[in-house]
Symmetry: C2
Subunit: 397 residues, 2 copies
């Protein structure tokens, strides 16, 4: 069925990946501790770390004094072994950022988009220009760029084409992968923005330490990223997690997707503002929503009711240990009303799964899409580093 490990050489590759990943997430660690973290024997840890040191993928990071014994040598991933570029394609902007492996931002390039106008060629040009700009600005040699991660709205098909379907964004079957690959030599990973943001929260934010989680993202629209057993769940065609258009009311309010009764039509910021009868445009949306939340309007009460039910549905279906509420609107709601949200979720959820799930706010703010996109590159790096050159095989989406 699934290939898994076969030869004795895959064994090494796997153990190398396990060790590198442990080192990446645990930070500076001695060889001795690594035996416990990885389950490998001391001899193997010594061997594998030897390889990784020779490849300059990890470096020594000082000593730890001991009370009577040889001091431990700390090891860590070499933050400048390679660099990852993250791209955030949003409603109002294209943002390109370059990070080292510690996820320090070394350069940034941003382009505004006219609201409602996301011509494909314009976005592609911005992305490519941005990539060149951040590489130039940071002074990172192109050979050390491990790859590019791109977070976009809508559904992203897996595969080298990275076909994108985004109704509300006005993109229908756009082969973004093909378009970008024509303009840049770097390995490319394209994914839905909610999923990249979810991975950012899992790695560096409120999701840390959990293996089963859902990151709920509430902005103008509504999405979710589902983490099953530590990895982003994608389903058969990578569209899993389309929470915003699940039905919460049969024949209910109309949604911008064309359907009726979608959750997004009740808790998406755009829909909430419309329901409250507030005029706004894209540039004033966040401020208007913030005012509305602070005002204690009954529309917000209703929004919280629906949000609680929507979260309860996620808990019933996915049984996560943690729900992270993020997105700019989600953070605004949560900062004021988290207790009420939890209460409404409890009322609409089975007691057993609710009792084992904690609901928390996102920690990374609403702009972590690019960071998350860059983690796609790092994830691939941690999974398969051969000792050969940096960019060895053409990455696929």
């Amino acid at each position: 069925m699934r290939p898994e490990r076969r030869t004795v050489r895959d064994l090494r590759r796997g153990n190398r990946a396990v060790l590198l990943r442990a080192l990446y997430f645990a930070g500076p660690t001695s060889r001795h501790e690594l035996t416990a973290l990885t389950g490998l024997s001391a001899a193997t840890v010594s061997n594998v770390t030897g390889d990784l040191l020779a490849d300059d993928i990890i470096v020594e990071a000082g000593l730890v004094d001991s009370d009577g014994g040889r001091p431990r040598v700390l090891l860590r991933v070499n933050p400048t072994y390679g660099f990852a570029i993250g791209v955030d394609v949003g409603e109002t902007h294209v943002r390109v950022e370059l990070f080292d492996l510690d996820m320090n931002e070394l350069a940034k390039s941003e382009f505004a988009l006219r609201p409602g106008a996301h011509e494909v060629d314009v976005v592609v040009r911005h992305i490519l220009t941005g990539i060149e700009a951040v590489v130039a600005d940071s002074g990172v040699p192109p050979s050390k760029v491990l790859g590019i991660g791109v977070g976009v709205p809508g559904i992203v098909e897996r595969g080298p084409e990275a076909m994108i379907h985004a109704q509300t964004f006005g993109w229908d079957s756009v082969p973004l992968g093909t378009l970008l690959r024509a303009g840049t030599p770097f390995p490319l990973h394209v994914d839905n923005g909610a999923k990249t943001m979810g991975q950012a929260e899992m790695w560096f934010g409120a999701g840390r330490g959990s293996r089963h989680a859902v990151i709920a993202l509430i902005g103008s629209g509504v999405g979710a990223s589902i983490i099953a057993d530590g990895t982003t769940y994608r389903g058969a065609n990578s569209s899993a997690g389309e929470w915003g258009h699940t039905k919460i009311a049969i024949g209910g309010r109309g949604c911008r997707c064309g359907g009726r009764g979608c959750l997004e039509a009740y808790i998406g910021a755009e829909a909430v503002l419309e329901r409250a009868g507030i005029d706004f445009n894209t540039s004033t949306e966040q401020a208007a929503f913030a005012d509305l939340v602070a005002s204690g309007s009954p529309v917000i009460d209703e929004t919280v009711e629906y949000l609680g039910a929507g979260l309860a549905n996620l808990i019933n279906l996915f049984n996560p240990e943690r729900i992270v509420v993020g997105g700019w609107a989600g953070l605004l709601l949560g900062q004021h009303l988290l207790t009420t949200i939890k209460q409404k979720a409890a009322e609409n959820c089975l007691t057993q799964p609710f009792s084992t799930a904690s609901i928390v706010l996102g920690r990374l703010g609403p702009d972590a899409v690019a960071l998350g996109a860059a983690t796609l590159v790092v994830d691939e790096f941690l999974l398969s580093t051969t000792s050969a050159s940096v960019s060895r095989e053409p990455a696929v989406s």
Copy 2:
């Protein structure tokens, strides 16, 4: 992080499992074909099959003539190497069945439960009596019983206690694993009945061949089994897939779980009959429901509307390649109204994920819970057969 493979010996164990699983699901297969199916080299296939033959886990199954060449020897899993017992704990009965590895039913034992009365000690006694009965009836030596799988209503916590929480069944925190282990020496696996039935449909029914699927079960109550990448998704505490109590209408109809607006309150057979104002008791429920479906009542139209929306929510969230509609009420609805159900699902679903999901009816009928429970045992068997004795390590739930 996760342990995975380590030593060179685990490699063999893994390849052995891969090969055995391929053989189990592909049926009689030659060594040559197995190289393609498993990706292993001919030499390794020869080695591993040699081991398995020596252990009597697989057997030769005839020759295939060739046109000019050595004929292929077919291999298959030895159906009488071991036997699995499946138990179905339902609303109205406890059913115990014993299967060989080909899932031929060799013996069966059934006990009626008084509707609404599921005292724990009575159920436990029935299960244990049933186990002894099927072993005796089949003449299978106890040493060849690989284990027992039990499918029960409600949420089953993982772990040796197999703690069960089933509100509608009247069981609150029942340590069924502990209770059963006190009365039987066989390795035990306890799981939710919807999940065991889902696995049965995946292995032998309408789910075959798909890796991402949802089995929707509609009977008196409503449940689902989610198959993610070929295995049952359980979430953090094994309660994932509680579809029946997701909210489809805020502040809607009351549900027997105590909540309001649950999907089950709209499409569960019990709720549908109540809504139609039909009197029934447990023994007449299925007939009454069948009559109602055939009558073309507007209540059924409404039920189909909600069912379509519920399925659409599953497709949006999980992006399966296949949805299997099962359970006795689901099968009745589907036989008459599958086209309408699909149409309602399409109306309530994003087009992209809907277009890649097929909605089909279950093939195993409503009584496959015990079969599915027995597959839990076989699954474990395929995963880890040491060459030692049959029951080597205490299984855990």
